[in-house]
């Protein structure tokens, strides 16, 4: 009996869901189906505050008539529910997660501890600076270390994710160009292999995207770029290594050409993991750099977030940074906003606890450890490319950095095996799938990033699985068979939109306008 059947079968009062764990591979009811009127988990501190009724406290017209229906469950049922759901979820702590561009490395547990210290977690963000000197010192030191790593002059820690960093960077460009005076610049150049956040951020930054194609090496086509560079161009956004996992060897030329027309260079730091301690965006000529602390610096991804996307800039842009920033004075640290600041990009100080995680990771790794990260991330990815090059297409089959893009192009033609099939088959082999169908310039792309924390033995197992999958394309259609649910009907989800539990009950015709 599925949870659905049971919901239907239940005519009586109280909870409609039953609680049985994954071992039975049954689906888990929603918390709303586990609810029975009158059950509760919550208890409150004894305060001795007078117990005025709501009507004495608030104007009658504002009060709701009935309590808002949430769910009524015992702590036991809540714990069972969430624990069972956790068993329906893959994660880095369960196994390898070779998701290209996402850098799903193992995040050391010591960082969890650091971010759980009450001296960090219990501080209200509006506490006066004299009472949070530890916080300001930590943020300032993290800022300095991120600048040392990227070769920049100063950073803002406010952006809560990479995309927020991108937009912050574009607003910095805008402010800088405005100060330079002259005709307003309207365009940002982006390679065709770029991540979707780049063009989306460009639009939100009030610019227009100009796409530059990749050449047959998988890098920015320098000639094509030169054609696009003129004094309408505010700047260029690049990730280096790029999303094919290839280092843009012409980066010095790209920088010179862009600077020549008065443009600025923005570094999308999603791939910074590959070059830690080896080279720095600042040295390559970038003016603005965002980092995904949730990729490179071991902030766990949390099922989708939170992360943190600090933005570091070269000297000429420092005065434009968002504020306030921690500044050291005679009597300790204080908050200061740069003179020409673009303003706040976060209501407080960014995703502060995520910053603590990254900070403790950087402390533990040190300069030596960070360089090892890059070396071994690149070693793992190259090893895997070598192992798989005869099995899958590798469209740009040359030394890659921390990831590489394979393709089922030939296999699709010979046996119908698509990238999505490989992904689903890999799931049933116990691995997470690589990123599929990205970058857009490779057909049937499989973007594979093993990360530095996976061992050779894990890589061997992953490679064997990928070989088996290629060798038995006929298994693909039924995959995945060993996962908590089988292949999910994505089309139906969009066609018959059920975005909430309450929408399930509603008449289907009402659902979409």
């Amino acid at each position: 009996m599925t949870a659905d059947d049971q919901t239907r079968a239940n005519g009586g009062m109280g909870a409609t869901g039953r609680s049985i764990p994954l071992m039975g591979r049954d689906s888990e009811p929603t918390i709303f189906e586990l609810s029975a009127p009158g059950r509760r988990a919550a208890s409150f501190r004894t305060t001795d505050v007078p117990e005025w009724p709501a009507e004495d406290l608030l104007p009658a017209g504002l009060l709701r008539e009935e309590p808002l229906d949430i769910a009524e469950v015992s702590e036991r049922d809540l714990v069972g529910h969430v624990t069972r759901l956790s068993h329906r979820q893959y994660s880095v702590d369960l196994g390898a997660y070779p998701l290209g561009s996402c850098t799903m490395k193992y995040n050391p547990k010591l960082c969890d501890d650091a971010a759980s210290l009450p001296g960090f977690t219990n501080a209200h963000p509006a506490t006066p600076e004299g009472w949070t000197q530890g916080w300001l010192e930590l943020l300032a030191d993290l800022d300095a270390r991120l600048c040392a790593i990227t070769g920049m002059a100063a950073a803002t820690l406010q952006p809560p994710a990479g995309a927020a960093g991108e937009l912050t960077g574009l607003l910095l460009m805008r402010a800088w160009h405005a100060e330079q005076g002259g005709r307003e610049r309207t365009k940002i150049v982006i390679p065709d292999s770029a991540h979707g956040t780049n063009p989306a951020s460009v639009t939100l930054g009030g610019y227009e995207t100009v796409t530059v194609p990749s050449d047959d090496r998988g890098c920015v086509d320098l000639g094509a770029l030169r054609e696009r560079l003129d004094d309408d161009v505010a700047g260029i956004m690049l990730t280096n290594p790029n999303t094919l996992g290839l280092f843009e060897e012409d980066i010095a030329e790209i920088a010179a050409a862009t600077h020549e027309v008065g443009g600025l260079l923005y570094y999308d730091g999603a791939n910074l993991n590959a070059i830690l301690g080896v080279t720095r965006p600042g040295d390559m000529g970038f003016d603005i750099v965002h980092m995904n602390l949730h990729k490179t610096f071991a902030v766990p991804h949390g099922g989708g977030g939170p992360g943190a996307g600090p933005v570091a800039v070269g000297r000429r842009l420092v005065d434009f940074l968002p504020g306030p920033r921690p500044v050291r004075g005679d009597s300790g640290w204080s908050w200061q906003t740069p003179p020409k600041s673009i303003g706040r990009v976060h209501s407080w100080h960014g995703n502060a606890l995520a910053l603590v995680r990254a900070y403790s990771y950087i402390l533990a790794s040190g300069g030596d450890g960070l360089q090892r990260v890059a070396e071994r991330a690149v070693l793992n990815a190259n090893w895997l490319r070598h192992r798989l090059r005869g099995v899958y297409d590798v469209p740009f089959d040359r030394p890659n950095m921390h990831e590489f893009v394979a393709s089922t192009g030939s296999l699709k033609r010979s046996s119908g095996l698509r990238a999505v099939d490989v992904a689903k088959r890999l799931l049933e082999e116990g691995f997470h799938a690589p990123t599929t169908y990205f970058p857009l310039i490779v057909e049937e792309a499989l973007m594979i990033e093993p990360t530095e924390t996976e061992s050779l033995q894990t890589l061997e197992a992953l490679a064997s699985a990928l070989e088996r999958i290629a060798a038995s394309p006929e298994d693909a259609a039924a995959a995945p068979r060993t996962t908590p649910v089988g292949r999910v009907d994505e089309a139906r989800a969009a066609r018959r939109l059920v975005p909430t539990f309450d929408a399930r009950a509603a008449d289907e015709s009402d659902r979409l306008s």
């Binding site: 919550a42 001296g119 000197q133 040392a148």
Partner: protein, 444 residues
């Protein structure tokens, strides 16, 4: 010093050989020599785990502010987080997963988000909610963007009851979008709703409930006003208030945003929190961020998946109306767990306890000579005082006594210097009494 990479020397050699390389440097031949860092990073070597513990504990100990008894709010509140919520929310399956791109192995996160969306939609009184945004302020920015996209208009009316830092974030991002933000002033604590002289009809009217002075706004009037000019009504609502107040959706809001820290997340020096975002079904194709929907698997079993993905940046690219990719899922999971732990009765009781403590504290402080109400509108769990001494001074003095007294109000905006004081369910009568006694000394 702990090596987070597993490679042994032997394995490195073997792997290099398999790649046809003879040394680690050769991995980086694509990087022009001139760009290589000669001596590695200018940074000390790594520390051992216990050494990192010592260092982070040293820094944490330098935040005595974390021990202050908290009467500060301003969008961040000192609520109880029970053991069950903390332990469940930190299960490593949730913490170390990525965005649920492969639904067959991500039903845990997906279902938690589906429940989260349901809860946020119910709090808002609207039909749909997304799977989280960065925080309340960024959710407000997205709401403004959505309104502009929905109406084709560029003007946005912004009540000055919205927290100043949120408005500041709005202004920052308007530099890119070019939205024309029209501030609407307050009068005696609530938004004074004339139609601005300039005749451009707004894409949206933005109002906070309660506003940053703690006062309860008339959401219905705001909604009617917006709808009267074919604009949208966006309400930035404190989710705790839903325990007692009619929901913004019921009063006509088209979009409700909010700061979700309140449920399940400690004050954390301001983040990571979670931006709540709910809308009417009419706006679902313009919803920013991710959306989880229910569906079935190949055997007809209930399953969840991210849906209407065509809205998102990775597909729509420069045409996307939002660039959000990484969001705040883990905090959303904690939000859903905490709210389920509270339950129907608990949410009401929580709100009621806040309101009672607020009333008790407000009356006690107003009994102090020289302390006056800044405004007179009704409040729920935060209120604003006019003080005879600068509020920053009061906050400093009370910190010495062990209290975080509140959030000083934006100077200039309200004629007089003011302090917003918040009281949550955690504050006992004894704490409030001691606070009052110290407050009395501090304003002398």
């Amino acid at each position: 010093m702990p090596d987070f990479t597993p490679h042994t020397d032997e394995e490195i050699e073997q792997m290099l050989a398999a790649c046809g390389l003879s040394g680690t440097e050769e991995l980086f031949t694509a990087i022009p020599e001139a760009l290589r860092l000669a001596g590695g990073l200018d940074m000390a070597d790594g520390l051992s785990e216990p050494d990192v513990v010592v260092e982070t504990q040293r820094l944490a100990a330098r935040n005595p502010g974390a021990d202050l008894i908290c009467f500060a709010g301003g969008g961040v509140y000192d609520h109880e987080v029970p053991a069950a919520v903390r332990r469940l929310g930190f299960r490593s399956e949730f913490v170390t997963a990525y965005t649920p791109y492969q639904p067959e192995v991500a039903q845990g996160v997906l279902q938690m988000l589906f429940e989260y969306q349901t809860l946020v939609a119910r709090l808002a009184g609207l039909a749909v909610a997304n799977a989280s945004l960065y925080d309340g302020a960024s959710a407000l920015v997205e709401a403004a963007n959505l309104s502009v996209a929905a109406t084709g208009r560029k003007t946005v009316w912004v009540s000055e009851g919205i927290h100043p830092t949120w408005r500041s974030v709005l202004r920052t991002f308007a530099q890119g979008t070019g939205h024309d933000l029209k501030p609407i002033a307050l009068r005696d604590g609530v938004t004074d709703w004339p139609i601005p002289a300039d005749g451009n009809p707004p894409a949206a009217v933005l109002v906070a409930q309660p506003n940053h002075l703690g006062c309860l706004e008339d959401v219905k009037t705001a909604a009617d006003l917006a709808h009267g000019v074919d604009g949208l009504c966006v309400v930035a609502a404190d989710p705790v208030s839903a325990g007692l107040l009619r929901s913004p959706g019921e009063l006509g809001a088209d979009v409700v945003v909010g700061e979700g820290q309140t449920f399940g997340t400690p004050m954390s020096f301001g983040g990571p929190f979670v931006g709540l975002f709910a809308s009417s079904l009419a706006q679902v194709r313009r919803l920013p961020g991710r959306l989880v929907g229910e569906t079935v698997d190949n055997e007809g079993r209930r399953a969840y998946v991210t849906t209407l993905r065509a809205r998102e940046q990775d597909i729509r690219r420069e045409k996307a109306s939002s660039n959000v990719c990484t969001n705040q899922t883990l905090i959303a999971v904690a939000f859903a767990i905490q709210l389920s732990w509270l339950g129907t009765a608990g949410l009401r009781e929580l709100a009621l306890r806040c309101a009672r403590g607020t009333r008790y504290c407000r009356e006690a402080l107003l009994a102090i000579d020289g302390v006056e109400p800044l405004v007179s509108a009704p409040t729920l769990r935060e209120f604003s005082l006019a003080l005879p001494v600068p509020p920053e001074t009061v906050v400093e003095r009370l910190a010495e006594e062990g209290f975080l007294a509140g959030v000083p109000l934006e100077p200039g905006l309200h004629q007089r210097e003011g302090l917003a004081v918040a009281v949550t369910e955690r504050r006992t009568r004894a704490e409030i009494d001691a606070f009052t006694a110290s407050f009395e000394k501090a304003v002398r």
